[in-house]
Symmetry: D2
Subunit: 235 residues, 4 copies
């Protein structure tokens, strides 16, 4: 599980890379979150060596990893999925087969893009409602019983004081960092550009998280976008 | 329940308007979805006449209206809420007190803005995932058990073939029209401008629904944004 | 010349307003930058009193006002333009007839919206180029002899060190404040919403200047968007 | 001069690629518009063979190519620029040295991103102004003597009837196609993502041109964004 596409390429194709030594029949599982196009490329190289490559990025964070409750989204040849499932089941409580190589990445990227959009949307709606005179807890309750409901509003609300046990209740410490979200949105952007898919909100969400990284929010949880939107005018 | 702020002003302040004849002690309930600033203005005028004004926009659509299951979001003096609740309870199964006059509108506007953002986000994520090789039903299933989950993905999915009984299963007929969503986003935009609240995604969502109205999607359900994003290149 | 639509309405229609005392045949010229719909409304009221109303917002700033070099964009009945021109010519070197009442405002709003878009675009392009290794002065020179050329790149460049005598050369002091630009973009947004005109970039520009106001840039020149985009990551 | 990064890589590094046969001391000039990171990569490979690589993308289009009036933006070792200039001067009237390898691409990408932003901005401002009652020719004249002035408003106006001899006067035939603009914006997006530079408007401009490609505008000139924004509501 490596941080970037470049690291994964190096690990496989570098001077001392896996491709230099891999035995025929090996099953190689990469749990990095990287560009699906890179996963496909690596799979081709691995196949040339008579081995099998699967992409299996995770969601769930440090807590889920510790308790063995990660979700693995797996892409690769279907016949090999049973073998992967056996291994990954030791670390994750959810192992989902997504389709051909690269679709594990695709599923993760699409989920995280929608997550970023919903989170910023929740922050904007909560902020606007508060400025219009609504109590934040009441507004969250109304949204959560209505069509605006989403994971960011009902499970991970970004407004301090609305929920306990979430990063917004703890000065946006812990959780999923803004830098990591900006990285995943960069992958979504790259995939969208190369497949010519329009992502109007996804692309703007990417730019917003990029701005936040440049404004001192890098290490805060990604729900701190509420704080980013909110700062008061300083006359 | 009138379509626009201008109609509501006319109904109250016009030459033959309600304000000309209203009796002291009357309770006036307006269920239009209009600018909260207009609701506040009308409340002031009504108060001058010794009567009480509450804003109580609804959600739920034609079906809920027929079956008496509307949700009413009510703004106004708290002491009068019991009286309003008794009346509105005949038409709605959910009558929520939101706070001072105008907060009923505020709650509705914030919910619908977040709804529009989540819907476009779901459409973008589903479209990108499909182009990256994912099966739409599988992708919806993964999103719905993950942090990307939202009402638009799990209850009103915009991709034909993913769910039954929703507008996307019926060529985007019925449901909540694009024109109405564009109108509500216009109200969110106006409220955000006047309270100086940044709504980056909300504002872009508004522009996207505005574009759709200009491209023949006016009467389709607002989930048709999936179709709007998706049309193929025609070389 | 008043700061907001509300002030202008008060000045005309208030308890001691102009409409109470205006003489038949008077020519009333309003140089506020306000919503064109308000100008039209005021013109109607003034006409009822047998007088004439023209909107004539200015551009050029304090410097141009001092030296009598303002530009006036005038909307109103064409027959009255000669009279207005005679008066306004004392303060402005450029008096342009734009059409019916409200078109003076429309021209100003459209210009300032395009200005905001070009300025942010110039800041983004300069910032990206610098990060890609280009010298800022050289990049400005290339843009200015190419199709990217605009007033913001060739006359008012937002990058410190590229030009002399502009706010970017003086820590973004003086010039046209971010708050004022946010206000004008709010007017563009309102006009676009009420005429159902899509303004995708205009709307995003509005939100960006709104964010800047919330981040301590209120009193800086609007070209400080370069600085806003640029702040470094702080790991 | 090849259409994409992949083609350029193939031409240099492919089985029968230039790198297989290049003689020491050769000067290789690539006039493709591609990712600056790819230009840098190719330059390294070429250097290993003892030869020199420069990137020199062009602007000016078919007309300028025919008449020998192209502009070349050249990146590479400064000592070699004189040699490149001698060659390129035969085809171009403007040969600009931009800095290290990749900066030719960077200059072109930044210019075209700003061009796309200004063009969409001009189309939005003109469309809004027309809906507010302004005559298009008059509005263009006002913008062009004011701070909204840009190449897209004064030299290549997107509104039919405002100027002669531009694509908007000829049903958006000829000129610079929407597909090509979408491609260049994809390169800007990739460069911005990899250098972590926020491009809020640039990114939205990219998505707008991407949408246009999906809506039948692929082969029209990029100024047809005016037409894209404008289509009437069809009730």
């Amino acid at each position: 599980m490596l941080p970037t596409s470049i690291n994964a390429i190096e690990a496989y194709s570098g001077a001392n890379g896996i491709l230099k030594k891999v035995k025929k029949g090996s099953l190689l599982i990469d749990s990095s979150t990287i560009d699906p196009a890179v996963s496909k490329e690596l799979a081709k190289e691995v196949e040339k060596m008579g081995a099998v490559f699967m992409d299996a990025p995770v969601s769930g964070g440090v807590g889920a990893a510790r308790s063995g409750n990660l979700t693995f989204m797996v892409g690769g040849v279907e016949d090999e999925f049973a073998a992967a499932q056996e291994l990954l089941g030791c670390m994750g409580s959810n192992v989902v087969y997504c389709g051909a190589v690269g679709t594990g990445q695709a599923a993760k990227i699409c989920n995280n893009m929608l997550l970023a959009i919903s989170m910023i949307g929740t922050a904007e709606a909560m902020n606007l409602g508060i400025r219009l005179g609504l109590d934040p807890k009441l507004l969250a309750k109304i949204l959560n019983m209505s069509s605006g409901r989403c994971w960011s509003s009902d499970t991970y609300n970004p407004v301090p004081g609305v929920m306990d046990g979430v990063p917004s209740a703890n000065n946006y410490q812990g959780g999923f960092g803004t830098t990591l979200m900006a990285k995943d949105l960069g992958l979504a952007q790259d995939s969208a550009t190369s497949t010519k898919s329009p992502i109007l909100l996804g692309s703007l969400a990417h730019q917003i998280y990029r701005m936040m990284c440049a404004k001192g929010y890098s290490k805060k949880d990604f729900s701190s976008v509420f704080q980013f939107l909110r700062e008061e005018e300083t006359f």
